[in-house]
């Protein structure tokens, strides 16, 4: 019986295609449940948000491909690149972190996108909020990203 359950679980995991990525909720943040877009979604009391999005790796691309695609899309939407950094997930996947600032009707926002790519999926850790509220929490957010399990 136990073997059957494990087999079904393994089959379900394979058929589902995408294992759910997750990370540790940063201190001072609260995780939301049942978000339709994100696998994980948490915010603090000042509107700073960190979230994990998982998409199929279709068309099949590597980290460079998805990084350049997202960067082009965001810069085309008016985002200004602040920095690009290498990151690593807790389970050893190398990723890229794109850091932007954008003016949203006079409101300066920070937006970080950390990209991890496997054969099956593209995992994004998105973090953002008002500059004034985001910067004091950079350490917690970096720590949370480092705790990511891509799966």
């Amino acid at each position: 019986m136990k073997r059957m359950i494990l087999t079904l679980a393994a089959l379900g995991s394979l058929l589902g295609g995408c294992a759910s990525a997750h990370l540790d909720t940063p201190n001072g943040f609260a995780a939301y449940e049942d978000n339709e877009t994100y696998d994980f979604y948490a915010s603090d009391g000042e509107g700073v948000v960190i979230a994990v999005r998982t998409e199929k790796n279709r068309p099949q691309g590597d980290l460079s491909y998805w990084t350049s695609s997202l960067d082009a899309q965001l810069r085309g939407a008016g985002y200004q690149t602040h920095d690009v950094a290498d990151v690593k997930s807790a389970d050893g996947h190398a990723g890229k972190q794109l850091q932007y600032v954008v003016d949203d009707n006079g409101r300066d926002l920070v937006f970080w996108v950390s990209i991890f790519v496997t054969d099956r999926q593209v995992v994004l850790v998105e973090a953002g909020g008002d500059v004034a509220f985001f910067e004091p929490k950079v350490a917690q957010i970096q720590s949370a990203i480092a705790s990511l399990h891509v799966g």
Partner: protein, 267 residues
Amino acid sequence: MDDAASQDVAMAGPASEMASVEAAKAGATPIAAEAPPTAVLGSVLPESVQPSGGAERALEEMRTTGADSVDQMIIFTGQLAIEVEFSATSAAIDDAVAVAVGAGGYVADMTNNTLRLRVPSKRFRRAMKQFEALGDVTSRGVQAMDVSEEFHDIEVRLSNLKATRSRIAKLLASSKDLAEILKVEKELQRVTVEIDRIEGRLRLLASQAAFSTVAIGFSERPEERDEALVVVADAPPPPPPPPRTLGSAARWIGEVRVQALIGQTDS
């Protein structure tokens, strides 16, 4: 009747003749003030409205009415739409005015690209041909309205009124009773006013028949330019279209936005 005259007259049916008379009546005062009384086509006017033009004969004429229309009074109006070269409208307007003035006519109205000219009816056809040579004619219209009958009726009525006025004047001279004198004077005044009105109408018809109206609208052909030069001369080249991104292949990429991210807390 020559070909052009036949064509002109043929374009004016009975309905337009009636309409023209009504229109002439309606517009009597302003046009009479605008147009000088001059030669009338084949009609005998009372002395008070008889033209005196003799110098016009020196100019070459092109018949506008046929030989059998000696007693006809016809009001001609023409419309032309002329397309000229790019930036040539001003020169074309100057040429058209020169044609009209050279024919003994004058400018009745002018804007940046339209003209209303009055030319002696005797030279209407020639003037139209000269106007048409100013560019490419995109539309042309000519109306001929016969006001002979109206003119004749008014002449008869004027003659009768003048006879009536003579009789009233004689009656007034022989009147002794003051009441009768006042009554006759009042009638004399009424008849005199009516005579003045009818003479004005005669002058209007004479003027309209003596001078034809030509309305010309000018338009310009688009400037022909070398496309390669346009880009260099007019403006810097347009910015290249944004590079194609993956938005159409992986739609979710377009949803990766900080606004979407932080907006989730509002829902």
